[in-house]
């Protein structure tokens, strides 16, 4: 129990259209003859259409072309995912330079941009259509139970760098913005089914329709995997992972200026826990998540837009198992002793006489020893009781955003928001904890000349414990030619301590299940932990110099950057019942360079090259180096052969220089064919995968652990039809 129990890880009108298309631009010519194409030929000035264009929305909340963005951004499209045979989001993120992805089990997916603490990958925010899936209680992201299937995704935008200035404290290292397919864009119906080795199964179906001014789609999906075949000291794999989802999305055009978007998702899943201890059974987890969100966007004028967004998410985690410890471990006297002096309690549990404490400790120790002796030989007989890490988390978020374009040179986005979050868990919190956070944010884009784009932004948030915190960013993009931009950005990223870090009151209590005992009897394990409750924000000061270039003749785009990230006030300690003394005492510095290149040099050929070099230096604790690859990257090429056939070949690798961390390498060969007919589309794909290593090593809490596969080869196949 001392090391085992941890929190879950986590016209013909060829010219003109009527006035009601004002959102695009007021076009002044009306059709001359009803039902007959209109006359036109009005010259329209170039200008302010760009604010409605979804180029890259993420980094500043302004819609900006890449050349004006004060950060490095990776965009992964649905077409790229299909072409490369990628079937889940963690694998998609291997395409992001500098993204560290560690799979400790089928559901133990640990992802952080630039790595650092493998136990606590909680410095990365993930948004699905603007709704955060970052859980407020324990800062977890359940990657296997995201509310979207890979088939729901239109594109993934990853801002590689602090995004707190735009998205708040949880976007400290980066933000992953998953944008789902728009209800107006998808086919009327589609179905995808896939299967592969290691028990990979997935199915996805979607229907879509238009109802008056409303477009909507409803998608249902299910997927599962058996995960690894063996773990450290566990000859059999026990990490089967499953998820079932319902996703609905709608858009209603209320009038020519106003539209309402809605989204609802429901996820049920289960995560088998790969380990069981000498005294405990597998602590499998069942999850149930519900998300609902709505966004009202109204254009007050061609230069002024208001957006009101509200969302609510509810996460229920049920993790219950049987723990059979010696009866002495459940004595109230031992519990009291632990709270006074954990070393004393541990000594007695080990059959030793404690010493060196206060007289009060000695007195409590004497009482505990008397109680143990009172049990006689039964003190060392196992008593089985239920243990749980059940947790209910919820978040309500409302935000008003105002975008104003004063001119082509000057654009603003400002906003206010409120987030109320709550967590309830007898085990982690001894009840419930909640807080309400208020925020203000803004970003100004200023173009003093055609050669320069300046961005200045900040996000201020008030947390009841931390108080006000400010995450600013400044960036300058120098357009040295139409195809080349030099970028300098300095930003501060923050992570607000989660509810457990501030309010942890960690105890295990549950009913006795051993035969012959009163089943109504409740027992409490002697160990406990309590947060001091005064944690401050983790902080990151990031400086980057970037270079963006395009070569149209080659269909080539290149983004390079060098950076330094100084992480301070890190809370490197994990919440465990055996000891939780969180501090803000740790720090580390990350330096490196990244390259992202993609080319589509003909309709038949495309390719990409991503590489990251990372130096993790001056870490004050080895935990901040447990997820760290000095070299990582990916390389791929795709080719359409003709007749609907295509193939792709890709390699994904990471050197794994972190403490206890193994090297990762994977080669995927994907072959597919697309069939087109007047009524429908069909396509199939087959991916042959080869892993460089069948064993993955990592450190989570104690010694280095291993997860292993029986074979380095894996086959995945899928079939999709749409109408």
């Amino acid at each position: 129990m001392l090391t085992r129990i941890e929190p879950p890880r986590g016209a013909a009108t060829w010219t003109s259209f009527p006035r009601r298309i004002t959102r695009l631009r007021s076009i002044m010519l009306a059709p001359l003859v009803a039902g007959i194409p209109a006359l036109a030929a009005e010259a329209y000035p170039e200008g302010s259409d760009a604010e409605m264009l979804p180029s890259v929305v993420t980094p500043t909340r302004l819609r900006q072309p890449l050349r004006d963005v004060p950060a490095s951004v990776t965009v992964i499209t649905a077409e790229m995912l299909a072409r490369m045979g990628i079937v889940n989001v963690p694998d998609a993120l291997r395409l992001v330079p500098g993204m560290q992805v560690t799979e400790s089990s089928g559901n133990g997916i640990l992802i952080n941009y630039h790595g650092t603490n493998n136990r606590l990958p909680r410095r990365l925010n993930v948004l699905v259509d603007g709704i955060s899936v970052y859980r407020p209680g324990l800062s977890q992201i359940q990657w296997a139970q995201l509310p979207v299937s890979i088939d729901d995704i239109e594109r993934i935008e990853v801002t590689r760098g602090p995004s707190s200035p735009a998205y708040g404290p949880n976007s400290m290292m980066a933000v992953v913005n998953i944008i789902t397919k728009h209800p107006a864009d998808v086919e009327r119906a589609s179905m995808t089914a896939g299967a592969g080795d290691h028990g990979v199964r997935r199915i996805h179906t979607r229907v879509a329709g238009n109802f008056g001014r409303t477009s909507m789609h409803l998608a249902a999906s299910a997927e599962s995997t058996h995960g690894f075949d063996a773990f450290t000291d566990q000859a059999q794999g026990h990490d089967t992972t499953s998820a079932k989802r319902l996703l609905a999305r709608s858009q209603t055009t209320i009038d020519e200026r106003t539209r309402l978007e809605g989204e609802m998702a429901y996820v049920e899943g289960s995560n088998e826990s790969p380990f069981k201890g000498d005294f405990e059974d597998y602590a499998d987890m069942r999850l149930r998540d519900f998300y609902v969100g709505s966004t009202l966007t109204t254009r007050l004028s061609s230069r002024h837009e208001l957006q009101l967004r509200a969302s609510y998410s509810d996460h229920q985690t049920r993790q219950e198992w049987v723990a059979c410890f010696p009866q002495a471990a459940y004595l109230p006297e031992m519990f009291s002793l632990w709270q006074a002096n954990p070393n004393y309690a541990n000594a007695i549990a080990a059959g030793q006489i404690p010493s060196g404490g206060t007289s009060a400790d000695d007195l409590l120790a004497a009482r505990a020893i008397v109680a143990i002796r009172g049990l006689g030989s039964a003190a060392f007989q196992p008593l089985c009781a239920m243990a749980n890490q059940n947790l209910n988390e919820s978040r309500f978020d409302v935000e008003l955003q105002d975008t104003y374009i004063t001119s082509e040179q000057l654009r603003f986005v400002t906003g206010v928001g409120l987030r109320h979050q709550r967590a309830q868990s007898q085990t982690f919190l001894g009840g419930a904890a909640s807080n309400s956070l208020y925020r203000l944010f803004g970003n100004v884009e200023y173009k003093p000349s055609r050669l320069l784009t300046l961005n200045i932004g900040a996000h201020a948030e008030h947390d009841p414990i931390v108080g006000w915190s400010l995450a600013p960013r400044g960036g300058a993009n120098l357009h040295i030619s139409p195809n080349q931009t030099l970028r300098v950005a300095v930003s501060r990223g923050l992570r607000t301590p989660d509810l457990a870090e501030q309010h942890a009151n960690f105890t295990y209590a549950g009913p006795v299940v051993s035969p012959g005992f009163d089943s109504n009897r409740m027992v409490r394990f002697f160990q406990s932990a309590k947060s001091p409750g005064n944690m401050r924000n983790e902080e990151l000061i990031s400086t980057e110099v970037g270079y963006l270039a395009t070569a149209p003749a080659w269909g080539l785009s290149v983004d390079m950057k060098i950076f330094e990230d100084r992480l301070r006030h890190l809370i490197s300690e994990v919440v465990t019942v055996a000891g939780f003394t969180p501090t803000n005492n740790n720090s580390t510095t990350l330096r490196g360079a990244e390259l992202q290149a993609a080319t589509s040099w003909s309709p038949d050929w495309s390719g990409f090259l991503n590489y990251a070099y990372l130096d993790n230096v001056d870490a004050t604790t080895f935990w901040e180096r447990t997820q760290y690859s000095r070299h990582s990257g990916s390389l791929g090429v795709a080719h359409s052969i003709g007749g609907g056939w295509r193939w792709s070949l890709a390699y994904y690798g990471a050197s794994g220089n972190g403490d206890g961390e193994s090297r990762y390498g994977r080669t995927d060969l994907t072959i597919g064919r697309r069939f087109l007919s007047a009524c429908c589309n069909a396509e199939f794909g087959l991916t042959l995968r080869r892993l460089d290593n069948t064993v993955t090593t990592y450190i989570l809490s104690g010694p280095t652990l291993e997860s292993s596969l029986d074979s380095r080869f894996q086959t995945l196949a899928w079939l999709r039809a749409s109408f």
Binding site: A11, W14, L32
Partner: protein
């Protein structure tokens, strides 16, 4: 025409008349361009009265409404349709085909030719890209022309034939792998009801649209080849020779065209459009007033 003008001053000219369907700024600007090139041009306000009393003339029908009026009013003289799309021109002429006057109608279509649009795409992307085109039964005949034109400029063409009445935005899924969409004038595709949704949908995919016109570029397409009022007026002058000689030339696409670019859209889609692409087109020779 140029030859006639050069031959000597004593040639008797057939009167020129312009028929309009409205007085919108666009129509007035077109009229201005025609008047600038044809000094004696008169505007016809009452087409039926004109048909009853005047001797032979050459009529410029500006826009679809004017073409409808001209092709059904029994005018004495050939009609040159201007600023009406090919599809609309063919519909109107077909509808009026039962009358005696439809045979004397020709056109310079409003839209730039597919060849021009494809040349523009090739110039913008500077490499071989796939061009998606939605066609309906009304425009299906353009398929071979598009394929040939694409081949000539080194582009790959993906044609999807949409059923009449289909949801166009969802049909675009069939062209989702194309690098760029080419919009061809088609009333059943690009209507007031659909164009906003089409543009927004393609933006969401990061897929640029090229075509149909300068107006669509203003509305949010990336770029288009287009013929200005002055270009059309210049080409009209060149057709007058045949019309005056009593011959009705084939309806045709504009011979002169230029390029409209929406720079905001280009920036948003991270596309850099070169000066060479912007200056693409064929310009008319300096005008000489008739």
């Amino acid at each position: 025409m140029a030859g006639l003008l050069a031959a000597g001053p004593a040639i008797a000219r057939i009167p020129l008349r312009a028929i309009t369907g409205d007085q919108t700024p666009a129509t007035l600007r077109i009229l201005e361009a025609l008047k600038h090139r044809f000094a004696g041009l008169l505007i016809v306000n009452d087409v039926k009265a004109m048909a009853n009393r005047e001797a032979a003339a050459i009529y410029f029908a500006i826009g679809p409404a004017a073409l409808v009026a001209a092709s059904t009013s029994g005018l004495h003289g050939p009609v040159l349709s201007l600023f009406t799309s090919r599809q609309t021109f063919e519909q109107i002429v077909a509808k009026a085909a039962g009358g005696d006057h439809s045979r004397a109608v020709t056109a310079i279509y409003a839209e730039a030719s597919p060849d021009s649009q494809l040349r523009l795409i090739a110039a913008i992307f500077q490499r071989r890209v796939s061009v998606g085109v939605l066609l309906t039964p009304a425009t299906a005949h353009l398929g071979p022309l598009l394929a040939r034109a694409a081949r000539d400029v080194g582009l790959e063409i993906n044609v999807h034939h949409a059923a009449p009445g289909a949801n166009i935005v969802r049909e675009l899924n069939r062209l989702s792998t194309s690098d760029v969409l080419l919009a061809i004038p088609d009333a059943s595709l690009y209507s007031a009801d659909s164009v906003q949704n089409i543009l927004e949908s393609t933006y969401r995919r990061g897929q640029p649209i090229v075509g149909l016109s300068q107006g669509l570029v203003g509305a949010g397409a990336l770029a288009s080849a287009y013929a200005s009022a002055e270009d059309i007026a210049a080409q009209s002058e060149e057709l007058l020779d045949e019309l005056e000689a009593g011959r009705i030339p084939e309806a045709r696409y504009p011979a002169y065209w230029r390029v409209a670019v929406n720079d905001s859209v280009a920036r948003s889609l991270n596309i850099v459009i070169s000066d060479e692409a912007r200056s693409l087109g064929d310009r008319p020779p300096p005008d000489r007033a008739r």
